[in-house]
Amino acid sequence: MTTSTPELAGGALTRVRVGAVAGGRVRVETDVTGPATAPALRPMLLAGDARSARISLVPDGAMLLAGDDVRVEVEVGEGMHLTLVEPAGTVAYDMDGGQASWSVRITLAAGATLVWAGEPFVVSAGADVTRDTQVTLAPGARLALRETLVLGRHGERPGRAHTTWSAYGHDGRPLLVESLDLDASSMAPGLLGPHRVLASVTALGQQIAPDACPDGRLDLEHGGTLWRHLAGEAHEVPAEPWECATTG
């Protein structure tokens, strides 16, 4: 048992480390620890060369259910490039009074790049999920992260999601810190409005051309850009911000 939160029995920790070059290829270390029955994200190496790797995070077992505690730690070494993909979205199901958590730690060394194309995360009616994302960037590190939070399956009432998000520079200076307590009451003017889909693309450590992708674009204080879109359906979210964040 590796979970640090005893009330969540189904804890599994997925580690992905992309480090120094070994024999002309980037060294990729992945492991999953936790009870054999706990649902986990299994990293599958899709491709790799001298400085980069492409890994798919494949869900192993049904998730996300009450008691699940999915944790992911991603480290990208100096000058290395990691692309993470997800084969499908994630659905947090009715937890019947229970809770689940999903937490991600990202540590990027100097000059490292992480491109993570997250798929929609659907919070069904009756689900109660904590989602925490923590990012640390060394000088010259770059992050492009796509997240799409969907409150409720199609035609369904929203579940509950408590999300916290923070990114810090190597000197401990906060770059972006935010929290959202989302449920049916969040569909109020100013918060989500009548929308059940909150899409975010976060680009840190890279300068996006000032006039590129202006729609939904929020330029952060200490560099970096966050694009936000509110929509009724996940497929209505525009693709341009992700293109800007990954090619810009």
């Binding site: 923070s166 810190v177 929290s179 959202l180 003017p189 989500l192 929020l218 952060l220 204080e221 200490h222």
Partner: protein, 220 residues
Amino acid sequence: MSEELLMMLLADARLPVAGHTQSGQLEAAVRSGLTAEQVPVFMRSRLASVVRVEAGTAVVGLHRLRAGLPVEPVLDAWAARTPAAPMRDTSRTLGRALLRLVRRLFPDSPHVKAVAVLERPCRPLVLAAAAATGGLAPASLARLVAYDDLQTVASAALKLLPLDPLDATSWVHDLLPEAERLAAAVAPLTEPHQIPASSAPQLDLWAQAHAQTTRRLFSA
């Protein structure tokens, strides 16, 4: 100095600090279809998000000024919790106007000097300097931030929507318990990382869109 009288002075809409130029994103909200009946819930959304961030920033700033600690980390924490550049710009513009006033009122205050040396301090930090100088309690300062926001939106609503001023004031009154809960929640905070980071995605997008329009009554 009486804490109550200083509170009244700082909360007065007649202060020459450009408060009348602000709608708290209400103008953008009305432009995108917000109705008069929805204004109270809009005000409540602000209390649950951006106002918590501002009030928390003010309270932590007050603590650090009184303790003689640097306030740059408070400004950084606030900026990281305010992703929309137009919202940061607005707070700084209002902070500059308020700073002119508090410098005049408290020319010898070390707290005002500590905030004045920051590059473009945000409004809650300038308020914190006034509060530190005048002896306001953290909860009072948080109440001031929350109350000011409610009145800003209410008075902007009267210019944007056909409303009875008595209705607008009763909305403010009905949300005072919510403002009091907010003040109680943030009053004990002392560290920058404790400042609430409650996000309001639609307010951020409205602030951004409003900054790009040319035809507008309010600057934000």
